[in-house]
């Protein structure tokens, strides 16, 4: 059940009506939202609802045991280790089993072993990376005493809540559980921002991302060696715009849908391509993942507390694992390695740049950073390492464009321009909209969706981050 579909629209209208009709009893309201979330998840594959429930129960149990251990440090550590191990086993089995078995088989063949290994085909549950990371952060926060143990209902709803379930943002217990514990309210400001985010997300996904994918990006990345330099360059820029418009659209809609139900999700994107350094980029792109990696991985690896060498090691390992989080593929590892290496290089540059040298001008920083990100996206999008190499090699091969049209070029320029709008444009607009009568807002909203619907291609592809 994809957000930009009529099926989801009808589902959400029913959930909205049910949730607010139960506002007198917060507990029944949460039960209704939990059942709705399981129904939403079951629309992909009902079997994995059991996994979602089991994951919630395990994390709830681990946190309870950590809290019950009181000041007994070893017991707390043991339950923490058990909680993290269970999450990693679940994630590892569903996400990485096939990849590691294939690598093992290749290694054994290299060593002269001729027989094939019996490798199971494991179906990847949608959103597993998101809900296991959410569960782990909850257990670690309880261990670190940054969050108290939540009730079973709150914990399972935290992990299952449908707006963020399959592609984030990664909402932490310390952010959402206090909201779940009190009766939700909705202000006109929240609703106006939520509605604008939903319509804005719909436009980015259904028009820009879909058009770029179907008209340019998919065809070029499917066979890079068959395309000209201009097509390859256009597809690289097009994919940078597509993945931003696709992923940020999901986040916008998730934040907006949660707001209409009375809950506040955190920021996840903030005009990332205007970043003047890669460090700045990661403060603006997938903020809930980058802050997760910082708080639970980078800090645990030593962070900046043990000198420059350790810091560079922590940065590189964090980004390598961040790459692997996206999927079991060497291309994701290379993507993470590019980001980790450049982050470490930026840090070393800041440390050792001769003081008499001028600082890099801001626009140059923006352009260089964007192109480092673009290089990473080529590996991220390509089906294999060989395809990525063919893509990059083809950039110097010459030839004219054959796929790029004025509309596609316009969409690339438009998508890039979003990053240079005044900050918080949606929120500024919402501050005006909230004072407008509902009839006018409803008419405007309805006609905007109508226009978007008339522009979108038939059908809608799943969000890119659903596969993670």
């Amino acid at each position: 059940m994809l957000f930009p579909t009529l099926t989801f629209g009808l589902f959400f209208l029913a959930v909205y009506a049910l949730a607010w009709s139960l506002k007198a009893s917060n507990e029944w309201r949460k039960i209704a939202l939990l059942l709705a979330s399981w129904f939403f998840y079951a629309a992909w594959d009902p079997r994995f609802v059991a996994l979602l429930i089991a994951s919630g129960l395990l994390n709830w149990g681990a946190a309870r045991l950590i809290a019950a251990a009181g000041d007994r440090r070893r017991a707390r550590q043991a339950w923490l280790a058990a909680g993290i191990a269970v999450n990693l086993i679940i994630l590892g089995f569903f996400k990485y089993y096939g990849f590691f078995m294939e690598q093992l088989e290749a290694l054994l063949h290299g060593l002269g072993w001729q027989r094939d290994l019996a490798i199971m085909q494991v179906i990847l549950p949608v959103g597993i990376s998101f809900f296991t990371f959410q569960g782990m952060s909850y257990v670690i926060d309880v261990y670190r005493r940054r969050a108290g143990p939540a009730g079973l209902l709150d914990m399972t709803l935290l992990m299952s809540f449908f707006p963020h379930l399959v592609a984030g943002p990664i909402v932490r217990a310390s952010h959402l559980v206090p909201q779940l514990q009190r009766a939700p309210e909705i202000t006109r400001g929240m609703a106006a921002t939520g509605l604008l985010l939903i319509v804005w997300g719909l436009f980015k996904k259904a028009v820009i991302a879909s058009e770029l994918a179907t008209g340019l990006v998919d065809a070029v990345f499917a066979d890079p060696s068959a395309h000209s330099t201009l097509d390859l360059a256009a597809a690289a820029y097009g994919y940078a715009v597509q993945i931003y418009c696709d992923f940020s659209a999901y986040s916008d809609m998730a934040v907006g849908l949660a707001a209409l139900l009375g809950y506040r999700f955190p920021h996840n994107f903030n005009q990332p391509y205007r970043a003047a350094s890669l460090q700045d980029f990661w403060r603006r792109w997938h903020i809930s993942l980058s802050s997760w990696l910082r708080d639970y991985l980078y800090v645990s690896l030593g962070g900046s507390r043990h000198g420059l060498t350790r810091l560079c090691f922590a940065l590189t390992v964090t980004m390598l694992l961040g790459g692997l989080w996206h999927g079991a593929s060497w291309n994701f590892v290379i993507w993470g390695a590019i980001h980790g290496a450049v982050l470490a290089a930026e840090r070393l540059w800041r440390e050792f740049r001769p003081r008499e040298w001028p600082a890099v001008p801001h626009p140059v920083g923006v352009i260089v950073t964007f192109h480092v990100v673009l290089l990473g996206w080529v590996f991220f999008r390509s089906a294999s390492f060989a395809d990525a190499v063919a893509f990059l090699g083809g950039l110097g091969a010459g030839g004219g464009a054959s796929l790029l049209t004025p509309l596609l070029l316009g969409l690339i320029v438009l998508g890039m321009s979003f990053h240079f709008f005044p900050p918080f444009t949606i929120q500024r607009a919402a501050m005006r909209v909230r004072a407008v009568p509902a009839l006018r807002v409803g008419l405007a909203g309805g006609f905007l969706i109508l226009v978007i619907d008339a522009m979108r291609p038939e059908g809608v592809a799943p969000f890119i981050y659903y596969q993670f």
């Binding site: 309210e185 707001a259 501050m431 004072a435």
Partner: protein, 125 residues
């Protein structure tokens, strides 16, 4: 990798000039400074907006409803749904309500068909 967006909420806006800094300090993108005058009835306002938008879409976007009904798995219930959606599409069509979407779609399609220079338009898929 810290972000200003993860800081806690602060109070109402002092001056519109500092609005960007203020908005950056909120924990969620849906948090706004308090309005100068209270705006009560958030739930009622929201529900009215959703109902009006849904009515606009039901009246002017019948082709989407029809397309959705046709894509459902076929069974006795969906056959009735397809028939109802088809009837609704014809009814709204009689009043010319389908024309705005058709006009926007045609305009968008002509934009898609444009090519640089003297390239011929791509054949329809």
């Amino acid at each position: 990798m810290a972000t200003a967006a993860n800081r806690n909420m602060v109070g109402p806006s002092p001056e519109p000039a500092g609005i960007a800094d203020l908005l950056a300090d909120y924990a969620s993108p849906v948090d706004l400074p308090d309005p100068p005058e209270p705006l009560p009835g958030g739930l009622r306002w929201t529900t009215e907006v959703i109902v009006v938008a849904a009515l606009v879409l039901a009246l002017f976007n019948a082709h989407a409803l029809r397309g959705w009904a046709y894509r459902l798995d076929t069974n006795a219930a969906t056959v009735r749904l397809v028939s109802a959606a088809e009837g609704w599409y014809e009814a709204t069509g009689r009043f010319g309500l389908n024309r705005p979407v058709e006009a926007v779609h045609a305009g968008w399609q002509s934009l898609k068909d444009r090519r640089f220079g003297e390239e011929a338009p791509r054949p329809p898929p």
